[in-house]
């Protein structure tokens, strides 16, 4: 499943860093953090999607505390 979320990030480099780190998370098939559109696109298996999303949000907070991810 592929889903888009709103993702507030402060700078282009932060978005890049987020994307690098989040793509290494377990269960993430593909992820992109777009600074310009402020969008996060996550692809993960349907049955695990919510769990993966939780992990993504948690990790994002850790790397960039300002990040806000909303549906």
């Amino acid at each position: 499943m592929k889903k888009k979320f709103k993702c507030e990030v402060d700078c282009a480099n932060c978005a890049q860093k987020l994307q690098d780190a989040l793509s290494r998370l377990d269960g993430v098939e593909a992820i992109s953090v777009n600074f310009i559109t402020q969008k996060l696109t996550l692809t993960a298996a349907d049955e695990r999607f919510d769990a993966v999303l939780d992990a993504v949000v948690k990790k994002a907070k850790q790397i960039e505390p300002d990040t806000v991810i909303t549906a």
Binding site: C11, N13, C14, D20, S32, T37, T41
Partner: protein, 623 residues
Amino acid sequence: MTAKQKRMRLRILAALALFAAVLAADRLLFPERLPTAVLSALYAVPCLVVGWDVLQKAAVHIVHLQAFDESFLMSLAVAAAFAIGAYPEAVAVMLFYQVGELFQSVAVGRARASIGELMSIAPEYANLETEDGVSCVDPDEVEVGSVIVIRAGERVPLDGVVLTGESWLDTSALTGEAVPRHVGASDAVYSGCVNGEGTLRVRTTRAYEDSTVARILDLVENASEKKARLEQFITRFARVYTPVVTVGAVLLALVPPLLLHLPFGDWVRRACVFLIASCPCALVISVPLGFFGGIGAASRIGVLVKGGNYLEAVAACDTMVFDKTGTLTKGSFRVVRLLPADGTDAEELLRAAAHAEALSNHPVAKSVLEAYSGSVDPSRVTDGSEIAGCGVRALWDGEELLAGSGRLMERCGIAYEPCGEAGTVVYVARRGRFLGSLLISDTLKDGAAEAIGALKAAGIRRTVLLTGDREAAAREIAAQLGIDRVDAELLPADKVARLEAILGAERSGNVAFVGDGINDAPALMRADVGIAMGSLGSDAAIEAADIVLMDDDLRKLAATVRIGRSTMRIVRENVAFALLVKFAVLILGALGLATMWLAVFGDVGVTVLAVLNAMRCLRLDQK
């Protein structure tokens, strides 16, 4: 400005005033040095006012072991400056940094807003016709085959076919075309257009997620994910740059003082310059923003570019290969000349041809009927049959009529005069007697010649025409348009082979293929850049092509090439400028010639300039 940005502006102004006061007090009121503790406390006030959030963020990052972060690097630089007693510089660094961040945030916000305008084509609701009247629903919920009502001034929410009503649609958001399009019963309408004066009842043919507007939005949003080579290079570069420069800063602060016993203060100052210059933001933001702007500028004129990489590719094009029918020509045929045989007049020839073709719906037959001004009584025409690839046969008042190619005439044993003119020729015979021939040709699109001329002016050096049509017809069109090379009488498979030959030959630039997307998907995919024409509502073309011209206007090709070239130039300027300034700051910093002020400019100043420069991409070719 957003509330957040206004708050920041207030903090900056307050800090600036405090800083000025402290500086004045320090330098003028107490020329003899105040105790260090007092001084650092005084200077810490403006520094904290403007930069407490940076310090806080840095602290959080340390906890999470995320060292190479802008706020951390800045905080470290400021702390180091305080430690060596460079108080005014420390405050200035923080102040400058925040001013730069604010500028950057405003500039990016602007860019985002301009791009947002492009995205504003999404419909918010649909008026669904149900058993108990019309209800307003989310376009997402409307099922295929439902009936929706589109009132005057409303946006078409879903693709469909008009059942009743007549109106003019403003398609400018999709195609950049200012002239509204007329629609009536049984015409297709596309989501994203704005309805004019009339009310339309429309049967939907697609769900929202498959509708034109959703697909376009999806394309534009995802375009920034297909990264150009230059962008990939910068991303990789940034990943290495920051750690290397940070390590450089640490070495600079420790090695000379410890090994060579040079003064700590001076070398820490130089290290601070390194820390400040190590942020890669100017590089990381300017490249994708430039491409985004270029893609935005293109979509404003109705050209969809599916990614930064395609903009990069089209900028490097020097050859364009065209398909003929439907691309350079309208794909609609027209009788251009009547060539009656001896003893027949033109009127008689045309009347016979029109009756022969009356029962056929081939495009050629339609053009013959269109050319005939008299009326055709279908009841007098019987026994119509099509002889595949040759023509038609029918009985008119019991008399046999034949209309078709030379092969048909030969097959029926009719003595005819072959016509050597360019175009499609229809030979007509009645009761075994040759009446003459009709010359039919496809009409060129408006502005086709102008478009080819503009492409050449934009730097496309070679244009090639590939067609299945006869050599003579193709040559004439090429001559009219000023196309350099013609490959005629090709079967569809030959077109790809010919394109491959061009791709394989020695060449200096990229090769673009321009087609109407109807049966040239293989060629569109094979070329360096596949450009599909007039694709409003055509899925196959949007799928196969890299660049899609939403309306039929060939003139936009040159504009697209120009946008691609300008975007690349702006992006390259940004990269060169940012790298140059960064390296200059690093070298001067290491030599002890650069101040921290200069270093801050090297970071945020360059970022702001790069963002402003990248924004120029948005305004390209807005004619």
